[in-house]
């Protein structure tokens, strides 16, 4: 069935200006026409609304197979669409971990059945993510993995990491690192500093991430491998990445909306929804990450969607697992804080959360133009979204934004 999106404003990657136009999507799901005064049936009046190209999240834990009580591919896909995200990369830290071509194939089959959106598969760097032996890169590469990573476990041995990078280079696969030094992180729960002292919680020092980043960058420079760094959390880490880029290192990095919006000062009352890996850092770090996003040191936004049950997160702060659901609050929270207030425009969000992440894993960008498959969401800037059970599609109703109202509403996500 044809659908006509009437009187919309269209957001694009290359301009902060919104274009007033109607969009006609054919019954084959392809955009037939973008223009003025298009006539048609099945009209959605989009006056005042913005049509935004679908986002792409590089960092998602969908928990299937192995932890379906936290999330499934199906609920994850629902959550993604609810949040305006039309493609994502699955982390391989499932049970079993995705470390062979056969497991990649099995997961792809599950995705095919469960998800209307592309969920690309990342494979492990080392067997069972144990950091001891290389996983089967060629089998996984043949099945189409888009990156190699041991997920939240950084490969501990620099020699093994070096061999991983040298080997991955032959398959043109990006090596992705969560950037953590376990010997420094230990049983830490929050950023080490004033807040960890006041709450009496074991701290995670900033150097835990920074040393790992320095090391990973040096190994990437030495081997010439493509490196992607996840969840950058400190100003110093960002400077190291900026320096590496200036000398031509093949490195990209991501930040999460949480680290752009929040700092350790926001942790209140031992609320475990603020327990993230890496931890929320200082307000100055948060501000440096925003600056890095604006000056292109930060390549991409990625949520680290890491759902856990409310029960699991109801443990005491030090014992609770790291991570929260992120897919459904990413666009809204960034709109609420930044776009609405003119800090940046839709164009920047599209570049950082739609174009660049797709590019990092070799996918074509999506845009709202004739001849392209429909892949956008309808955003109502006048709306408001209460983040609660009525809104969330993820199984995990744990979020720093839970119970809060965010400006704007995603009316629907349209897929061709």
């Amino acid at each position: 069935m044809e659908r006509l999106f009437k009187n919309a404003s269209i957001a694009r990657a290359d301009s902060p200006e919104l274009e007033k136009a109607d969009v006609l999507v054919g019954d084959d799901g392809v955009i037939k026409e973008v223009g003025k005064d298009i006539a048609g049936d099945a009209v959605s009046d989009c006056a005042g609304c913005v049509l935004v190209p679908g986002m792409f999240d590089l960092h998602v834990h969908a928990r299937e197979p192995g932890a379906e009580h936290k999330e499934t591919l199906a609920t994850c896909a629902d959550a993604a669409l609810n949040g305006g995200i039309t493609g994502l990369v699955l982390m391989p830290d499932t049970s079993p971990p995705i470390d062979t071509g056969n497991l990649v194939k099995s997961l792809q089959d599950l995705v095919f059945e469960a998800s209307p959106i592309p969920m690309l598969v990342a494979g492990c760097l080392t067997k069972r993510r144990e950091g001891e032996k290389l996983a089967g890169f060629s089998g996984m590469a043949n099945r189409g993995v888009v990156m190699l990573t041991d997920s939240d476990r950084t490969v501990p041995c620099p020699d093994l990491l070096r061999r991983c990078m040298e080997y991955a280079r032959d398959f043109h696969l990006v090596v992705t690192s969560h950037c953590d030094t376990p010997a420094l992180t230990k049983a830490g729960a929050v950023n080490e500093g004033r807040v960890s002292y006041q709450l009496g919680l074991p701290g995670i020092p900033a150097i835990s991430q920074e040393i790992a980043i320095d090391r990973d960058i040096r190994v990437a420079q030495h081997t010439g491998a493509k490196l992607h760094l996840q969840q950058i959390s400190t100003a110093h880490a960002l400077r190291a990445i900026s320096d590496a880029k200036a000398t031509g290192t093949n490195v990209t990095c991501e930040v999460s909306p949480f680290h752009l919006l929040l700092s350790e000062d926001d942790i209140e009352d031992y609320n475990t929804a603020y327990k993230l890996d890496p931890p929320l850092r200082l307000p100055t770090d948060r501000d440096a990450l925003l600056k890095g996003l604006l000056d292109d040191t930060v390549d991409a936004i990625a949520t680290n969607h890491a759902p856990h049950t409310e029960f699991e997160k109801a443990a005491d702060f030090a014992s609770a697992p790291f991570g929260v659901a992120g897919l459904e609050t990413a666009v809204l929270s960034l709109y609420d804080r930044f776009i609405k207030n003119g800090v940046f425009g839709w164009d920047l969000l599209i570049r950082k959360y739609s174009v660049a992440p797709r590019e990092i894993v070799g996918q074509r960008p999506v845009a709202i133009q004739e001849g392209e498959k429909a892949n956008f969401f309808v955003f109502d800037p006048e709306g408001e979204t209460k983040v609660d059970a009525g809104y969330l599609k993820t199984k995990s109703h744990v979020s720093p934004f839970l119970g809060k109202a965010l400006a704007g509403a995603i009316r629907e996500t349209v897929l061709g």
């Binding site: 002292y197 009352d269 031992y270």
Partner: protein, 312 residues
């Protein structure tokens, strides 16, 4: 009688007003006088139940609460939480449900997880008394320390106390220093750099050595217990070196004696580590007074808090 707002729980020192602190410390005095009598019991909490819930081993604090509660005529139950049963098995929420079903009026809790007493408090009608959570807080220790210091220094404002030892892992240091600061007492800290965190309270003045301490001129030296099992080799090279650098040896003790400096310690002490045998007999040691005041302060706190369990 004061017109304080009723308070259900005692979770930390930060949230206490000066008025509340005064109220508890003043009320502890008559309770302490009671200890001189042959009948040490009052009927204040008759018919009420106090549940002692210690997830970490503790003899002193749990007995102190038990004595305090029984001197108020409350019924005390020691909920035996073997350290093994805590491992993985029952979750915090399940435990809380069990506790709520027991309908205790007061829950005294010690737990390795910072913030746990607060979670329990939120989910129960009972008054929750934090008896130590992780590195976070130990408010009744702070109150008994303040009571003890005020007894020997009635004009305490502007006096100085140096806390010696592991500031990083000490809930006692956090709570006691916060309370002293609220009372206008200056707080110095002495210890190895690896155990004096950068993120500590701004008011904690770092002293470099015992010489520095004596130059600074504290009215009391507060020694913290060294957690040998946890720290040796990780944060300082060994006991001998710790004792040499930070222990209260006879030379330092004689300097304290000359200056009339009081000695405090939350117990239990490691003889030969933070103190020598000689120091244990020091005439200006307040260690036993701290234990005695602990009971009085805990009685005052139990008397003060208002559980939401009563219908009337």
């Amino acid at each position: 009688m004061s017109d304080l707002q009723p308070r259900k729980d005692l979770l930390d020192i930060e949230s206490l007003s000066l008025e509340e602190i005064e109220y508890v410390l003043n009320n502890a005095v008559p309770f302490k006088q009671l200890f001189q009598r042959s009948v040490k019991k009052v009927p204040t909490l008759r018919g009420k139940t106090v549940l002692n819930l210690f997830y970490e081993p503790s003899t002193r604090t749990s007995s102190s609460f038990e004595v305090a509660a029984s001197r108020l005529s409350a019924d005390v139950t020691n909920f035996a939480v073997g350290s093994s049963s805590v491992v993985k098995g029952e979750s915090l929420l399940d435990t809380i449900e069990t506790l709520q079903a027991m309908r205790s009026d007061y829950i005294v809790i010690r737990h390795k997880g910072a913030g746990v007493p607060g979670i329990v408090a939120k989910h129960t009608n009972a008054s929750v008394l934090n008896a130590g959570d992780g590195y976070h807080a130990h408010p009744t220790q702070a109150l008994l320390d303040a009571m003890t210091f005020r007894e020997v220094c009635p004009d305490y404002a502007g006096k100085k106390v140096v806390i010696v030892g592991d500031i990083l892992h000490s809930r006692v240091a956090r709570s006691t220093s916060t309370l002293f600061h609220k009372l206008g007492i200056e707080v110095g800290v002495l210890g190895p750099g690896s155990l004096i965190p950068e993120g500590r309270h701004d008011f904690m003045q770092r002293l470099a050595s015992w010489d520095d301490v004596f130059d600074w001129g504290p009215d009391a030296v507060y020694l913290l217990r060294v957690q040998l099992e946890r720290q040796e080799g990780q944060f300082f090279p060994g006991i001998a070196e710790y004792h040499k650098m930070y222990g209260l040896n006879s030379g330092r003790l004689s300097q304290m004696r000359e200056r009339g400096t009081w000695l405090m310690h939350p117990g239990p002490v490691n003889r030969g580590v933070e103190v020598t045998d000689e120091a244990m007999g020091y005439e200006k040691s307040l260690i036993s007074t701290q234990v005695e005041n602990g009971i009085a302060v805990r009685m005052a706190v139990l008397h003060w808090l208002k559980p939401e369990t009563q219908q009337d």
